[in-house]
Point group: C2
Chain length 136, copies 2
DNA sequence: CAGTATCCTTAGGGATACTG
DNA sequence: CAGTATCCCTAAGGATACTG
C-alpha cells in the first residue's frame, strides 16, 4: 500500500478514504437505491421511480456510478418490452451493514427530536412489518 | 414514534433517516472535522485549517451546523489572544464507530484499486503510528 | 486568534419532453 | 420499458480581504 502526503502537514483530499467512500455510496440517493435493491434482491428502473422520489436523469446518473464503482450489476433481458434488472455485487453487499448503522443512527436522532419517520424506510429496514403493497 | 408516508407508495425524503444522518455527519467535510476533534479530544479553528484542506467560510459553516445538531460543543476561553476549543458531545462520539467503518471501507476499496492513501488519515485512524509533527 | 463579508463559479439536482 | 436530451436553477463551495 502506498501512502502519500501532499501538502506536508495537511491531509490531501484526493487520497482520503472518507471522500472516496462517501462519493461511492453515501450521497443523497445511493443509500436508498442500494437498499431498494437489497430488499428485493434485484429491481428495475421503473420500480425505483415508483418507490423513491428521484427524477429519471438523477436515477440514471446514480445507477451508472454505482455500476462503474462496482456496487451493482446491470442485466439486460431481451424481451418485449425490454427488461433490465439491477442487483448488488459482493462489494455492494459489503456496504449494507454500514448503511444499516447510518439508518439506525438517523432514526434514533429523529425519534429523539420528534421527527416522524417514513414508513417505506421502516419496512425496508425491518422496523415495521413489510407491506407488499408498498413495494410493487 | 410517529410514522408518515407522504406520497402513498413513495418514500418521503423529508422523513428518511438516511437523509437526516447524511446531512448531519456525512458530507464532504464533517467526518474529517469530527475525527480531527476525536483524535485530539478537543481542537481549535486554526488547527482545523492547518490539517484539513478547507477554507475559512466552509469550516465556519460546518462547525455551526455540527454545533446546532448537537455533535460538538464550542467553548470560549477569554484570554489574549482569544481561544476557542471544539469538542465532541456524547452524541458526537456515537458517530465515531460509524465513521470508522466508513473509513475502513473506503480504505479497502482504495487499496484494491491501487489508490494511494493519505498519511494524516492513516495516523488519525490508527493505521500508521502517530507522528506528532503532523498534528501541530 | 477566531472568525465575517463579499464576490464568483460550478456541480448537482429538478422538470419535462423525447427516443430506441 | 428503459432510458436520453434539454434547459433551468440554486445550494455548496472557493478565494480573498477584512474585523472584533
Amino acid at each position: 500500500m502506498s501512502i502519500i502526503n501532499g501538502d506536508e502537514h495537511k491531509l490531501c483530499f484526493d487520497h482520503d478514504p472518507y471522500t472516496y467512500a462517501i462519493k461511492v455510496f453515501c450521497n443523497r440517493w445511493k443509500p436508498l437505491i442500494i437498499y431498494a435493491i437489497y430488499v428485493d434482491s434485484s429491481t428495475r428502473y421503473s420500480k425505483f421511480l415508483k418507490n423513491i422520489p428521484i427524477t429519471e436523469k438523477v436515477l440514471a446518473n446514480n445507477l451508472k456510478e454505482l455500476e462503474k464503482d462496482g456496487l451493482i450489476t446491470r442485466t439486460v433481458f431481451y424481451e418485449v418490452p425490454l427488461r433490465v434488472e439491477y442487483s448488488l455485487t459482493d462489494t455492494g453487499r459489503t456496504v449494507c451493514p454500514i448503511l444499516d448503522s447510518i439508518y439506525a443512527w438517523g432514526r434514533e436522532e429523529m425519534i429523539r427530536n420528534g421527527i416522524p419517520i417514513d414508513a417505506v424506510g421502516e419496512m425496508w429496514h425491518g422496523y415495521l412489518p413489510m407491506d407488499e403493497s408498498f413495494l410493487e
